[in-house]
Amino acid sequence: MKKILNLQVNGETHEIAVNPADTLLHVLREGLGLIGTKRGCDSGGCGCCTVLVDGKAVYSCMLLALSAVGKSIVTIEGLSTDGKLDPLQEAFIKAGAVQCGFCVCGMIISSKGLLMENPHPKEAEIRQALSGNLCRCTGYHKIVEAVRIASAHS
């Protein structure tokens, strides 16, 4: 039986009916139409479903939507302000850190979580923070470079 719950996503409260077993990823994509968060492995192995929950990066495919009630959720759609991209998004463009683009929303959200806690990370810290995000295209160097660029401007 579905349950009605309120989810706070990107600063807005959404009332939505969910099955108890629905993951946050499922609800974001299928319920709220926020398809920037990608469904990759759907088992906590690739990172493209990463969102921020209370400022911390988590795999939304591993989190039940019911467990996200009362928490602040930020997806890739929530980073821009008044139509202006977040400096981190700008840095990814500047560094050429996007190829096929499937992993990039998770990469940016994981990077955002890192920079919120550690605005000036060392390269090893960037790589550690992104170790749970797989990219099959870039070889990671330009992604790390993008985070360094964003870090330098913060």
Binding site: P20, D42, G44, V53, K56, M62, S67, G113, S131, G132
Partner: protein, 291 residues
């Protein structure tokens, strides 16, 4: 997630309430820690009858308290919260925990809990090996009250443990060892999100003369249904001065304690070979922490 029968996720406020819910739902109840392994279990068809998840994050089990020679860690402490405890950096004896946490992706660390990692009872995980290396015990709450179970006795098989029906883990206890104790952890894996091909936790206590008073070796990964003690290696070190030659000799003995699996990730032969290398390096790392 394949929970076709799941009807409710409870968030009780007390241990008594949890015990009551476990009794009420019987086989259909499952304790929810961080939830990072739910998918792993459901994908293997291991949760077909789960109708109620009992989220224990509101029980106040999020403490890390050194007191009277014992470090108590609440079951709901996340890996991230554990990693941020200053003691993990300051105390060489806790090095095995600090090292093990470094392998885990941040998204998992932000959700996964200490209690969940142990209750899952999968030998491929890293933290159970680290806690076992530190002679950890769990406190289980249940209908008959609380009881302490040594991790040496806790793991009974893959996904099986010593918890009785109606019991759940509330905290992990680590006895503070003698001052000259250090520990370390090493893992062989394919990538950050991969389960261990083989991992090892080691701990060593030196006496005043610099001889090994006590050593402890625990292997996880593809070593069997439960983590395995490297007792031959421990015996080879105890009472002796741990120099390079002795560590080499001791590492050669691990073969006697291991009967690893062969799978698509590595052969048993490879696992035995890598075990020797990892145990030697882990002891070198631990000893460096005492210098």
């Amino acid at each position: 997630m394949a929970f076709s029968k799941l009807k409710e996720v409870y968030t009780p406020q007390s241990s008594e309430e949890v015990v009551k819910l476990l009794k009420q739902h019987g086989h259909g109840a499952l304790i929810l820690g961080g939830g990072t392994f739910l998918h792993g279990l459901s994908a293997r068809g291991l949760l077909p009858d789960v109708e109620a998840l009992i989220d224990i994050q509101k029980l106040g089990l999020d403490y890390f308290t050194p007191s009277n020679g014992v470090v108590k860690t609440g079951a709901s402490v996340t890996f991230t919260a554990l990693e941020k405890q200053p003691e993990l950096t300051k105390a060489p004896w806790l090095g095995v925990l600090k090292d093990a946490l470094e392998y885990i992706p941040v998204q998992v660390k932000n959700m996964a809990t200490v209690g969940g990692s142990l209750a899952s009872s999968l030998p491929l995980f890293d933290l159970p090996v680290a806690f076992m290396t530190l002679k950890g015990s769990v406190v289980a709450a249940g209908p008959k009250g609380n009881r302490k179970i040594s991790l040496d006795e806790f793991f009974k098989g893959q996904f099986e443990n010593a918890l009785q029906r109606g019991e759940f883990i509330t905290e992990v206890l680590l006895p503070v060892p003698p001052r000259r104790t250090a520990s370390a952890f090493l893992k062989n894996e394919k990538h950050a999100n991969a389960l261990a091909i083989l991992n090892v936790g080691v701990s060593i206590t030196l006496d005043k003369a610099g001889k090994c008073e006590e050593a402890r070796v625990v292997f996880g990964g593809g070593v069997g249904d439960v983590p395995v003690r490297g007792r031959s290696c421990e015996n080879a070190l105890e009472g002796k001065r741990p120099n390079k030659e002795l560590l080499k000799l001791a590492s050669e003995t691990v073969e006697a304690d291991l009967n690893p699996i062969s799978d698509h990730r590595a052969s048993a032969k490879y696992r035995k070979a890598i075990a020797k290398v990892l145990v030697e390096r882990a002891f070198e790392t631990a000893l460096q922490k005492l210098n």
